[in-house]
Assembly symmetry: D2
Homo-oligomer: 444 residues x 4
């Protein structure tokens, strides 16, 4: 570019260049250039021969990139300029026509939108895989029981199937969020030019059709300064990873000696460099640890966009590394979650033992009094007193309760009834869990 008299400082090049990471956008850059050239020719802006030369060169470039033998040059500052340079080397003067009626501003936005669209779909598919694993394991453990916890204190017993399906529904919402991000990326930026539109009678609908966009970005200024779809993707990923962090945290907890509810597969654990006995839930820990990473990335892009004047500012180059990292992180964590869910060996006895703690049925005792006519708040107080007496007196609750409330209390304290009495829709009784499983299967 001959506007400049002096060369760039090497440190500036190091700061400015995005090639190290944006090269992964190449499939999208090639696709959009192909569509753009096709449209330029269809509109008579370039000749059919130019288009053919461009398409041939793009095909060659595509192959070079796919086979990892693309000849990058020292002064390729990003993948877009590298491809245009290479196309021009191959196609000659026709190559120099590729950037007609296009700016890097709308070009980059288009590549990133295509990338987000594809990755949102992939994330959706991978989540579906994890959901399927959860459904499968839920079916295998329909009648296993374990304590449900609030405040990490044993609250009421639930079936393991019910617990596993809780994650199914979190992930179902994640699917909706990735669909939203996919839709947000579904408006073609290309054709906005640098910011004001272009001096040629282009046909943006044609390009949109070729690239599979449903809509066209309606305002050129907004088109080149919009990164909402990246924020939407990062937000979806942050929430999904936060869900996975909860699953990871539970696997860590359940695989402690103290809980002992699960044995993780060797394939997803590792040892200690010093302590020969250790079998550590590294994958579960990392799955837990990755959420803040992507939350940090989301926050960083909000920070970058904050207060920026229209339209494109170079700051926005900082959208890519957070996005790429979130894509990779999510993929790894979904694989880990799916692998661990599929391979986990649950310990029926340990779970059952923990769930047989009588105190866990205190609510049922209160509800018994309710059925017998006592207002709930009063019943809650009565049973609270029984619990206190039992704990302080070192007596089983059953004894204290039966002494005071009679044989009905004993019946309520039969374990068999604790889960099956939770008959409300969405509750843990077998019938309700089966309903839920069907609903889940219907969504897959």
């Amino acid at each position: 570019m001959s506007r400049f008299a002096e060369p760039q400082d090497p440190a500036f090049r190091a700061l400015d260049s995005s090639l190290a990471y944006d090269r992964r956008l190449w499939p999208y850059d090639v696709a959009q250039s192909r569509a753009h050239a096709g449209m330029l020719a269809a509109q008579g802006i370039i000749g059919a021969d130019d288009r053919d030369a461009l398409h041939a060169a793009l095909e060659k470039v595509e192959l070079e990139l796919a086979e990892d033998r693309f000849p990058f040059a020292d002064d390729d500052v990003d993948i877009h300029m590298a491809i245009e340079r290479r196309v021009t080397e191959i196609a000659g003067p026709a190559g120099a026509k590729l950037h007609t009626a296009r700016s890097r501003n709308d070009q980059v936005a288009t590549d990133v939108a295509l990338f987000v669209r594809d990755e949102a779909r992939s994330a959706h598919d991978r989540i579906r895989g994890l959901q399927a694993a959860l459904v499968e394991r839920a079916e295998e453990h329909l009648d296993w029981h374990l304590p449900g916890y609030t405040h990490l204190q044993r609250g009421q017993p639930v079936y393991l199937a019910h617990h596993l399906l809780a994650y199914f529904w979190m992930l179902e919402r994640d699917c909706a969020r990735f669909s939203f991000a996919c839709d947000a990326a579904d408006a073609l930026p290309l054709g906005a030019g640098a910011l004001a539109g272009v001096n040629f009678a282009t046909d943006r609908r044609m390009v949109a059709d070729a690239l599979g966009f449903t809509r066209i970005a309606p305002n050129s200024l907004d088109a080149v300064s919009n990164r909402d779809f990246v924020l939407d993707f990062l937000g979806a990923a942050a929430t999904a990873l936060t869900h996975l962090s909860r699953l990871g945290g539970e696997l860590v907890l359940w695989s402690t000696a103290e809980f002992g509810f699960v044995v993780l597969p060797d394939a997803w654990t590792s040892g200690s460099s010093l302590m020969p006995q250790k079998k550590n839930p590294d994958a579960a820990e990392l799955m837990r640890a990755k959420a803040p990473r992507v939350v940090g990335s989301l926050m960083s892009l909000y920070g970058v966009m904050h207060g920026l004047p229209l339209t494109y500012n170079k700051d926005m180059q900082e959208d890519k590394e957070p996005l790429f990292d979130a894509v990779d992180t999510l993929e790894l964590c979904l694989a880990a979650a799916t692998g661990m869910v599929a391979g986990a060996r649950f310990d029926r006895d340990r779970m059952a033992a923990a769930a047989s703690d009588e105190l866990i049925a205190a609510t049922d005792l209160a509800d018994l009094l309710v059925r017998n006519g006592m207002p709930f708040r009063e019943a809650h107080g009565v049973v609270g007193g029984l619990v206190r007496d039992a704990v302080e007196g070192g007596q089983p609750l059953r004894e204290v309760a039966t002494a005071r409330l009679g044989q009905d209390a004993a019946a309520v304290l039969e374990q068999a009834s604790w889960l099956e009495s939770k008959v409300s829709e969405g509750g843990t009784s077998s019938e309700r869990v089966r309903e839920q499983l069907e609903a889940a299967r219907a969504l897959l």
Copy 2:
């Protein structure tokens, strides 16, 4: 609660109590209690007389709260317990039945979901108001031109209407985001009980209908540990405020002496305590400054949820203050944006002068060469050289260009053509802007 032998530490009460902020949930808590009592009676879990007594007490409580004369007690730890206590004072034993088949876990989740649903709708409506103001001002400034900027350098001229509408489309996406949050909050948690469902044959659909929920949370464990809808609302607010921060930043910039594109209404500015001449764009600055506040809140809730085991954990009480603050912040900022957009006085001459800088038409010159058959990349280089010569030689670009490229160049450098030549869809030519305005109006 008689399970405890010792009283709570006052410092614990200070940490634990949420009444100072969750009292604003009272309308939702009253509404859900009303619906819950109605359902309990319909299902025969309480008597019709109990229901009537509860409904009468709730009506009284509602009035006390609405008129700010509700008698809070020292040991009301949150609005839910305060209302139940007061209902019981009024209704006697019937009051003590209100919490039958309900836990604070599903109760709180339900209040918050109702709140999010309402506030997402309000945000949507307020955004529509700002969009309407933008459309109105765009119509008033259809043929005013100003520079469009990239990198805050003058790029190409655009119509002010086009620039204002860029914000319209950002906000349109915000509407979609709030609709998503509204939908995310549209599944009834109530009926999940503490975590496992309840011991009574409740009718959750009936409660959902009464409260206007479309769906029922399908898994009781998930229902009480889900705060996704709060994250969704915070994410929508963070993005909307980031958009407003860009508008605020531009208003600050445009009202500098150096730009001078806009004079903000006195009603939205203030003076200096020391410097008598100052007229400061405080509202625009604050509008810019608020985005990080809500991004911080979003991040804090991600942090809170990170790694939490199922189901409810007290940590989740930290969802409310960020949410309430985001609601209030967004409302203030949308009012400020609407007020400033409506009242801003643009300076046609300053904008036009800035947009008449010849260099701004360099792309058009290159495109002229393209039309004459020169490949774009080559034309870009030729014009880059002309610009450099003009800048270094202190000559107008027009002279340098005409000398080298002939009279066609002079015609291209006529200002009149710069905007109207941007004929591509979404571009700044008058026809395209009018199309855009129509599309915008159609959405309002």
Copy 3:
């Protein structure tokens, strides 16, 4: 201020006013006004009579504020203008001289610096209190053992004193961080005026001395646009709360039925609205949950300051709410930590039982082989094999090990030796823990 023709919009006032929160700065505002007036008179900028009138009025105002009967006016936009207005009501024309050679810009910065300095000192003192509680409990539990965990898997046994002291050292670093923040706030901004210095020969050293500042901000532009000391305080608070979140997380974990290492005092726990048996570690959970809140606040202030041009921008008003909230949050959490550490009842038997798991001594077995001449990495492999055989064969490690390695192995698997063999400095052997306790006590 007569520069403006139109009144401010009520919505602008709502956005702009900081009085609702900055009123807590009043003691600092009064103090600095007193010092400022004293200096103005000493330099002959105002008369001694003016100073006396100002000092008298300030004393009155101070009393009104302290006794919560200060008459706020509807258009008091912040505490600074409110105090100046009131001083002028009381002192007449002398009051109107108070703002001579001062701007709100340097005034606010000075108030906030004084606040940070004081609160950093208070935080330091409160942390010392928690450290003292830890030392006391450590002394009480010198020879109790429990498993030390890595990856939440039992690693090697440690003394409870050793574990408690780990928190002592984290907190010791927090003290250093608050000292840093205190020092960062120890440069007087006042005297910088709006931004350029003032038109009077003021004596900033005199004001600094009166207010207890060690240094004077050396550059007026920087003085009014610097909020580093707030970032430093927030950073210190975020790290301290992250430490407390770890303590909170452990208390939650240890008070589960599954671990059972600790019983929290009733005074710091609460019950369930539904489940009568529950005793929930709410305070520990909230202590855990508060770290992200303050991290979010830290991040929001970074976001606010990001990219701001010099000098003061209204955005910076957003420094106060995060700061105040961090101060209050930290105070509550330190009280909770201190209360729970002091009141926790540890369960010697549960801890000892968990720590008696033979596998925990696998490293010691490997080290035995090392002492007998086997390279460590090889020994690690040998013992790993023994562990696998024991686990898979359902045999005690002792049996497998003795069979293969002889009676020396049996001796190593005597529990008594496991802790006392950790003789390295900082290790868990009794002597080393006693050394540590002495060092800790020396710091208090």
Copy 4:
């Protein structure tokens, strides 16, 4: 490790392995292994011949790594295991002794502490370089004036030297922050073993001396679970980059056509792919954009550490990428800042023209009235009225002021006096700026 029966899943390896990024720790890993081996021999834990073999192997490994010909193996999971493996290949059985009395837990913490210490020092030095450039440019522009801004409105004129030095003092505080981080990293973790100390009579002081640590981490549990020093480094980097973002933002602003205060060197700018006339301040924009990146990293590490139980958890592996990225980002941005500060060409005329706006002297006019006996607040109102009349009447302030206030006003409105009258310490008068420059030079 023979504890495991099944191999690891390739997806687990991909998630688990840190070699791709932690290999940059190799110099520290080699250094600590050398020191560790030396100490083991000195304490008689290994033989002198083993030590010599280890030292020889480590030297060879060091060379291989320095020359980028180290033979990594497929199952090297991190740099630590890779080096130990390679040392063992070279040294045979002696190599297998290297990990005696050491765990990866204390090993990693030590490497990272060494890294932080070195990089904190480097950051300090690089900041000093930027400060030197600022001092140099300040000296060159001692008597150039430009407007000082508040709210981005012209406030009062200042010397460019004064403005440049404002950044000097921000950076001075950054130096203090990096010194703090350096000190925080100055306690040796090695010797803590996995968590409890080691079974050998090691000499940690000897290792500390060899590696240049001043202190020894006093508690083994804390030593392996502490990442405060990384947080401290990230916090220092986040604040420094926030300062640089303000400088970057000002360079972007000042290089607009509208401000025109600075021309950035060609070496730190770039062109547009479409618009031939553009010269974009990319480096300044990126310098602005990088702060949120590192703030995001800081936040992510807070998120990772949040609520983690003692001691080491795999989550903590997530400390490294944020740290390394912050180091590299800071280095690039400091280079950019130094290059741009050194090469910027300021435009004396544009600055002077902007600073000659009469309104900028309104405060001086008010202070004139103060000197003549009018209370400041009243004088502020009088001058506010004059400004309004001048602005509304389209008259120069000088005329309005002289008509009402007499010739004294005319003298005050002489530009010459505006800057030199700011005589207060730290103000912009020449004498005060020279004082400041001396103080700055004394610090370099």
